[in-house]
Amino acid sequence: MRTRNTTLAVAGLLVATVTGCGGAIPTASNSKADGVYAQIAKLPKDQQVAKAQELAGKEGKTLSLYTSMTADIATPVAKAFEQKYGIRVSVFRGNSETVLQRALQEGQAGKPGADAVETNFLEMTALSGNGMLVPFNGSALDKVEKTGKFQDWTASRLNVFQPAWNTDLIKPDDEPQSWEDLALPKYKGKLTLEISDSDWYQSVTKWWLDHGKSQAEVDRLWKAIAANGKAAKGHTTMMQFLTAGQTSMEAMNYTYITDRARAAGAPVTHLPASGVSKIPAFARPNGVGMIKGAQHPAAAWLFYHWLLTDGQKELVKLKLTPSTKVPGDKSLDGLTLAPFDVKTLSSATGTWDKKYDALLRGVDTVGN
C-alpha cells in the first residue's frame, strides 16, 4: 500500500514537471501600471509628488529597485529613501550587464520584477531601446542639465574617467599631464588597462580626432599606450592592486573609486600634486528609469523624483558625482570636464568593443 502511494506521488510529480514545461505562457503584464503613470504625468507638476505618495500608499508602500550601484552605496541610498517616504525598498544588485539581462528577460516574459532601475549609460540606453521604460515629466528634471536628459531616463550620477596612480611609486615629476602622456616611454610596464573600458577608448579617440590629430597619429598613440601597459579585469580589482603597490598606474579608473580608496588612507590619487588636472575628464552618465508594467509604479515615480532631488545629497555624502549641482560637492574639484559623446557611443558600441579588444591583444582590427 505504501509503495503504491509513493508510486502515485512520484507519478504525480513527473506529470506536474512535464505539463509544467509545456504550460501556456502567462502574460501578467500590468496594464494598471500604465494608468498610474499616466495619472501622475497629466497632473500639474506641483501636485505630482503628493499624488504619487497617495498612490504609493495604496500599492503597499514597497519598491523593487534593480541597480548596479555597489552595496555600500545602494544600502544607504535605499535607507534614505525609506526614511523620507516610508516605502520599503528591496534592492537587486548586480553588475550593469546582469541588471540589463534580468530586466530584459523579465520584460520579455511579461513579468517585470523591477519598478525602478538605476544603472550605467549603455544599459539604460539598451533598456530604453527595448521599450522597457516609461518617460518621466516631473519637476525634478528642471535641475538636470540638458546633456543628462534622455528620452525616457535621466542621468542620476556621473562616472568620471581619469588616470590614477600610486603616489609612493609615481613621484610628482612623473605625473601624467595629458592622455597623450600615457604613451611616453617612461611608463613602460607601469600602466594597467581595464579590458572593458572601450567607452573610455572611444571618448579619448574622438577627443584626439576632434582636436587636430590624424587617424594615423591616434593609432600610433594607442599602440604605444597598449605597449606600455598590461590588461586587467575589473576597476575595483585594479584599484586594490594599485593601493597595494602591486601596480604603479592605471590608464583609466573612475575618480570615485580612486577617491574612496584615498579616503580609506591608501596612497593613490587621480589629481597631480598641484591639485589641478588638465587631462580632459569625460563624465559618463549613469541613470534612473521607471519600468513599464511595474508592480509599484507610483513608488517608482517617487524614487525617480527623489533620486534627482534629495537623493543627490545622499550621493554626495557617499563621495559620488551627482548629475545636478549640489552644494558641498567636491568630487569635480581640480578636474577639467570634457563632453562625453553620447551619440557615437550609443549608436556603434559593438565596433568600439571589438577595436579596443583587438588593441589590447595587439592584433589589427579587420576593416579598420
Binding site: R102, T237, R361
Partner: protein, 567 residues
C-alpha cells in the same frame, strides 16, 4: 501489458524519474545554447555565422585553443598527481600528520577562486610578491617566481583543483581490496612494480573520472586566467566568452559558439574516458569477498613523507590562508611592513558581522548546498546505475548529456533558467528553488563522475547475490549498492556542498532580494573594492565549511562509512 506494468513498478518509476529529471536538467540550458548559436540573424533558419564571428577574423582562435589546452592539461595533470599521491599516502600508509590531510583537501576548495588567485598574486608577483621579496631575494639574490605565466596559472589552478582528485581518489583507495597488491608483493614484485602494475591500473576508473573533471573544469574556469593570464595577454576560451557576454548588444551566438567548442572537447573527453573504461570488469575491486585494507608501513621513509606532508600543507593551506588572515586585519592591503603591522585591527570582522545579511546569506547557502548536494548525489547514483549496469538503449547518450552542463557558461545557464521559469505557472522564479535547480544542473556532471567512479569499482555479483536471496531491486540498491558506494557518494556530496557555496555566475542573475546567498555577499564586497573585508569573510567561510564537513564525516562514520581509523 507487461511492459506497462514494469514501467509503472516502483523501480521503473524511480529509475525513469531520475533519468527524466537528469535529462530535463541538462537539456534546458543545452537547448537554449544551441538555439542561440545556430539561429540565423533573421530568426528563421539555421546559420553558422556565430562560429565565424567567434573563431574567424582576428580572434586568434589557434592561440586561444593552444593556451586553453595547455592550461587545462597542465592543471589537470598537476592536480591528479598531487591528489592521487596525497590520497594514497593518506589511505594506504602509516604516515604521520593524517589530520592535516583533511584541511589540505578542503581549504583550497573552499576559498573562493578569486581570493585564492589574489592571495597567490600577493605571494608570487615577480617584483613585489612576498615569496620573491622576503624569501628568494634575500636568500638567493634572485626573483624567480612569476605568477603571471602559464606555469603560474597551472600552479594556482592545479593546487585549487587537487582536492577534487584527492576526494575521488580517497574514495577509490578505500574501496580497493589490497590483497591483489599483497599477492603481487608475495610473488616478488617490488613496491614500485606493485604500484605501477597493480595499484594504478586498478584505480583507472577513478583516475580517468578525476582527470576528465579537472580538465574540463580548467577549460571552463575564469578566475585564474582572468586574474593571472590577462596580464601577459594569455587568452583562453573563457576570457573570450567573458568578452562577448559583457559587450552590448550581447552576441549570444558567439558565446554559444565558444561554449560548443568547449562542449566538443569535453565530449571527446567523455568518449575517451568510457573507451578507456571499456573492459570495466578488470577494475571491479569491491567483490563478494571481505577485505580490510592494511596500511603500508613506510619504515625509514616515514619522516621524509611526514616532511613532505607538512610542506604540502604549508604551501596549499597555510600560505594562502595566512595572506587572507593578514589582509583581513588591515584597512587596505599593503605588503608586510612595520607600518602595515602596526595598523592591524579587527574592524573587518566587525563589518562582516554587522552586515544585514550576515545570517540569512549563510543560512540560504547552507540550505541550497545541502539540498543540491543531496539531490544530485541521489539522482546520479541511480543514473550511474542505469549507465553502467543496464543495457538500456541511449545510456551512453545519457552519460554524455549529464556531462554537458559543465561547459555551459554560468550566465547562459542563468538566462536559460530564467527564460523557462518566468514562463512556467509554478512559483519557482524569484525563490530559492530556482537557485536549487541551477546548482543541481551545474553540479550534475560532478555528481555523475563521483557516482560512476564508485559504481565502476563494484562487481555486479553483489547485486546478483542479493537478488538471488530474494531482495527487490530497491532493497538491493538501498541496502547493498548505496552503502558500498557511500565513500564515493559522500566525497561527491562534500564536493558539491563546498563548491555550491562559491557559485556566482548563474546565482547573480537568479537570486532575489531577501534571498541572497554567501557568494552574492562575497561578490558585493569584491565590487565594493573591500578586499580586506572580503578576506575576513573568506576566513569565516573557511571556518564554517570546515566545521560543516567535519560534521558530515562524523555522521558518515556513524552510518558505517569507513573512517580514517579503520585504515
Amino acid at each position: 501489458m507487461r511492459i506497462v506494468r514494469s514501467l509503472l513498478s516502483f523501480q521503473g518509476l524511480l529509475v525513469g524519474g531520475a533519468v527524466v529529471i537528469v535529462g530535463y536538467l541538462a537539456i534546458v540550458p543545452l537547448g537554449y545554447l544551441i538555439h542561440d548559436t545556430f539561429l540565423s540573424s533573421d530568426g528563421t533558419g539555421v546559420s553558422f555565422g556565430a562560429f565565424s564571428r567567434a573563431y574567424g577574423g582576428n580572434a586568434q582562435a589557434g592561440d586561444m585553443l593552444l593556451n586553453s589546452m595547455w592550461f587545462a592539461l597542465g592543471s589537470a595533470a598537476l592536480a591528479l598527481v598531487l591528489g592521487t599521491t596525497l590520497a594514497y599516502v593518506q589511505v594506504r600508509t602509516d604516515t604521520p600528520f593524517k589530520g592535516l590531510f583533511f584541511a589540505a583537501s578542503l581549504v583550497p576548495l573552499i576559498v573562493p577562486g578569486i581570493l585564492y588567485a589574489t592571495s597567490w598574486i600577493f605571494l608570487g608577483d615577480p617584483s613585489t610578491g612576498i615569496l620573491n621579496s622576503l624569501v628568494f631575494e634575500p636568500l638567493f639574490g634572485a626573483t624567480p617566481i612569476n605568477i603571471y605565466s602559464v606555469w603560474g596559472m597551472i600552479w594556482v589552478q592545479g593546487l585549487h583543483l587537487a582536492p577534487v582528485a584527492f576526494l575521488l581518489m580517497v574514495a577509490a583507495f578505500r574501496a580497493m581490496d589490497p590483497s591483489l597488491e599483497e599477492s603481487a608483493a608475495m610473488s616478488g614484485a617490488n613496491r614500485l612494480t606493485v604500484l605501477r602494475r597493480v595499484t594504478v591500473p586498478l584505480l583507472r576508473p577513478a583516475m580517468i573520472s578525476a582527470a576528465l573533471l579537472m580538465f574540463v573544469q580548467s577549460l571552463e574556469s575564469f578566475e585564474v586566467p582572468g586574474l593571472l593570464g590577462l596580464q601577459n595577454g594569455i587568452y583562453v576560451f573563457t576570457s573570450r566568452i567573458y568578452f562577448v557576454l559583457r559587450a552590448y548588444p550581447v552576441d549570444y551566438g558567439a558565446a554559444g559558439a565558444y561554449a560548443i567548442g568547449l562542449l566538443l572537447i569535453a565530449a571527446a573527453g567523455v568518449l575517451l574516458s568510457s573507451w578507456l573504461q571499456r573492459s570495466s570488469r578488470n577494475f571491479q575491486t569491491v567483490t563478494g569477498k571481505a577485505f580490510r585494507p592494511r596500511p603500508v608501513e613506510l619504515g625509514r621513509a616515514r619522516p621524509f613523507v611526514g616532511v613532505a606532508v607538512i610542506l604540502y600543507f604549508l604551501i596549499t593551506v597555510v600560505l594562502p590562508v595566512a595572506v587572507l588572515v593578514y589582509a583581513s586585519l588591515l584597512k587596505y592591503y599593503a605588503a608586510p611592513s612595520r607600518k602595515a603591522l602596526s595598523s592591524m585591527t579587527l574592524d573587518n570582522y566587525r563589518a562582516v558581522l554587522d552586515m544585514p545579511l550576515a545570517f540569512t546569506a549563510p543560512k540560504n547557502s547552507l540550505l541550497l548546498g545541502v539540498g543540491a548536494a543531496t539531490a544530485v548525489m541521489v539522482l546520479t547514483a541511480v543514473v550511474s546505475w542505469v549507465v553502467l549496469r543496464t543495457k538500456a538503449p541511449g545510456r551512453r547518450l545519457l552519460d554524455l548529456l549529464a556531462f554537458t552542463p559543465i561547459v555551459i557558461p554560468g550566465l547562459v545557464l542563468g538566462l536559460a533558467l530564467s527564460f523557462v521559469y518566468l514562463r512556467m505557472p509554478l512559483p519557482i522564479y524569484g525563490t530559492l528553488l530556482i537557485l536549487l535547480i541551477s546548482y543541481c544542473t551545474r553540479y550534475l556532471p560532478y555528481g555523475m563522475r563521483y557516482s560512476s567512479a564508485a559504481m565502476a569499482q563494484m562487481s555486479p555479483e553483489l547485486e546478483e547475490s542479493a537478488h538471488v536471496s530474494g531482495a527487490s531491486w530497491f532493497q538491493t540498491f538501498r541496502r547493498v549498492l548505496l552503502p558500498l558506494m557511500s565513500s564515493g557518494i559522500l566525497a561527491g556530496w562534500v564536493y558539491i556542498l563546498v563548491v555550491s557555496f562559491r557559485e556566482l555566475s548563474s546565482t547573480i542573475l537568479l537570486y532575489s532580494p531577501g534571498k541572497e546567498v554567501l557568494s552574492v555577499l562575497i561578490w558585493e564586497q569584491f565590487e565594493n573594492g573591500q578586499f580586506t573585508t572580503l578576506a575576513a569573510l573568506g576566513v569565516l567561510m573557511v571556518l564554517l565549511l570546515v566545521l560543516l564537513v567535519s560534521i558530515a564525516y562524523r555522521l558518515g562514520a556513524r552510518f558505517g562509512l569507513q573512517g580514517d581509523s579503520a585504515n
